[in-house]
Point group: C2
Chain length 391, copies 2
């Protein structure tokens, strides 16, 4: 089998979908927690399930460096290795390779780089990256792409796209589907509408199992990021899942959802948690602030995460100020649950046909402690544990 | 009510007991995971329960410094504050105060010291420490004691004991029992048999709700530590719980159990976990070792912890080598489960009358990677989840 994707309901451009993979079903729109090395930082596979995650994102670049694809393959693939039995998507590592700057050299055939860990040489080619992901048995593999820097001239962006398109063709041809999963193409094109539109058309002709919008969250402004989504998403095949890579704040996810995107990933909820920045239905909350020293309320009274079910803002303030490991664990579990509840709310609203209206009400005003993100008070964050579990 | 303690079965000097507290029952012999600041490092209250813990240890000294007793009291006491609904024992902080060295001055009435956090002055008196613990609503409070250094002369140890005895009288008189819990006395006396025996008799006359053996694990040899237990434990009242403070390796716990000790605490399982040193039924395992890179087995095939149920030594090796937070979390959950299963096995063996025989078989040979601790292969580590949960 390969992936299958059904659109169950629509609300404007927004889609309520169901992605079926060899390792389970993903109800969309869905957020994929980031487990770069195979685990979300501080979170057991069991806790990730309990939070309501249905699909995990891992990173081929990091796994190729450590422990190495051979090791993962010998140990029965990425699911057996990590203990995460559900669907897994691996990013191809293109983004990470480009981030290496001077440590890599690109030629028409692929990219050669040095490990950021020990300097050992590695080579990624479009075919090799497909092969790595098939050997790890992932449910969704991503093609190797070139993520242009930002800012970039239109000419350089167009030249970069030609290379990525060539790699897309080679990746598509190399994909054997032995893992039963699917291969996604990645639309690039930077902030240039014509190039994004052309890239969407080029990739659609290659008949990928799904389509990602890449090259965002690289430094561009929010309006530029939103525009890239608005130009690209509607041009992608309606019967395939659409994935916005590395985005973002709840407002960004809401915006993209209303333009027809189905899948998201971002390190934000986990990274912010480790810095004591918590998402709540009342706005963003910086738990280190002295005002929380005596606060007996849960982080978010409507949340069902392990922290909110048992302890107070005061306790998390105390653990965070004390630099305790448990602070990072509880905060991460909370923020992940918030994001996953938020996605459940989006799914519910699309099903009810109320998302477009609710999205109009969501403003870029700031709630809580600081402008860490938009106010999500009017957004439909689900707190129904059944919806959470069944999705 | 106060504490109640029943001895349900004996095997030689070993006791299978039941300690009933205002917040629940503790089946003994029991291991108390250390949550100095109110949480075991990296572990949620829910995970601690799932591992089979029945009682949590916290530390008055650390809590008095941060967040302060007033804060804990205002927030409804230590149970409400931490989200741990079961029994809690707080150490008085005597040991921590003595560790401060030059930062503290002792007089007959108590001890004045400076916070190791911000240098602010604090004062502990026998009455104050009792009051702090009552205000936090703990189930078991510990008296303020003086922990003599090691080595110490017989004269200095005896003088120290006189001070501790005076503080014991004052603590006993100050204890009101408003929290419904109990107050434990602490036997000191260093490595001197006569002094230990006298201290046990002195304290017994004061009718504490339980008795601790303190002043061990301060640098003395294992035979000296074992001797202190062998001299002291049998002299303590048979109808009260006995607690060996800060001990230790499974072999130490086994030894003390066979001499009639009921309660234990130690940072060892959690601290070792954070350094990649794992306890298993096959011996100690240093997960960073290259030999585990490809090892598909669970850490301990008989263990039911979240790590062993889902992942391999290879995955934990990978996460540990990568410095991932999840490595510390999974390893801590594993080691705690090992200790708690080990205690369940001891309880079972006492019930069956087989502990004395099994203890003879336990040798100081080393299993696994390195002499981090004794071989516990012949010890009765329970892997029965029902026994775990019901205890």
């Amino acid at each position: 089998m390969s992936l299958s994707f059904q659109v169950l309901a629509t609300d404007g451009l927004a889609r309520r979908g169901r992605l079926t993979t060899p390792h389970g079903v993903v109800e969309t729109p869905a957020f994929m927690p980031v487990g770069t090395l195979g685990a979300v930082k501080g979170v057991t596979p069991q806790e990730l399930e309990a939070a309501g995650a249905s699909i995990l994102l891992a990173n081929l670049y990091h796994l190729a460096l450590r422990p190495g694809i051979d090791v993962v393959e010998r140990l029965g693939g990425l699911h057996a290795f990590t203990g995460w039995p559900g669907p897994i998507l691996t990013d191809s590592g293109g983004f990470q390779v480009w981030s290496l700057g001077g440590l890599r050299t690109v030629d028409a055939d692929g990219v050669t780089f040095r490990s950021h860990l020990d300097g050992s040489p590695l080579r990624f080619t479009p075919e090799g990256v497909v092969d790595f992901q098939e050997r790890m048995g992932v449910d969704v593999a991503m093609m190797l792409d070139e993520c242009p820097p930002w800012p970039v001239t239109p000419e350089a962006a167009a030249a970069s796209w030609l290379r990525t398109l060539d790699w897309a063709r080679r990746a598509r041809a190399a994909w054997r589907g032995t893992s039963g999963g699917g291969l996604f193409g990645i639309v690039q094109g930077s902030v240039y509408r014509g190039l994004r539109e052309r890239a969407a058309a080029d990739l659609t002709a290659l008949d990928f199992d799904g389509y990602a919008i890449g090259g965002v969250s690289v430094g561009e402004t929010a309006p530029e990021r939103h525009a890239a989504v608005e130009w690209t998403a509607p041009l992608l095949p309606a019967d395939r899942p659409r994935y916005l890579m590395g985005v973002g704040y709840p407002e960004d996810i809401l915006h993209a959802t209303t333009h027809g995107v189905d899948l998201f990933d971002c390190v934000l909820p986990a990274r912010n948690a480790r810095h004591g920045v918590l998402f709540t239905r009342q706005g963003v909350l910086k738990i280190k602030n002295a005002r929380y020293k005596d606060d007996p309320l849960p982080i978010d009274p409507e949340c069902g995460c392990p922290a909110c079910r048992r302890t107070s803002r005061a306790f998390l303030h105390h653990l965070t100020r004390s630099g305790e490991l448990t602070a990072a664990v509880l905060a991460t579990l909370h923020n992940l649950r918030f994001y996953l509840d938020f996605m459940a709310g989006l799914r519910q609203s699309i099903q009810l046909g109320t998302l477009t209206e609710q999205a109009k009400l969501a403003r870029r005003t700031t709630g809580g402690d600081a402008p860490e993100g938009p106010d999500v008070r009017v957004l439909p964050v689900s707190s129904d544990p059944l919806e959470q579990r069944s999705s």
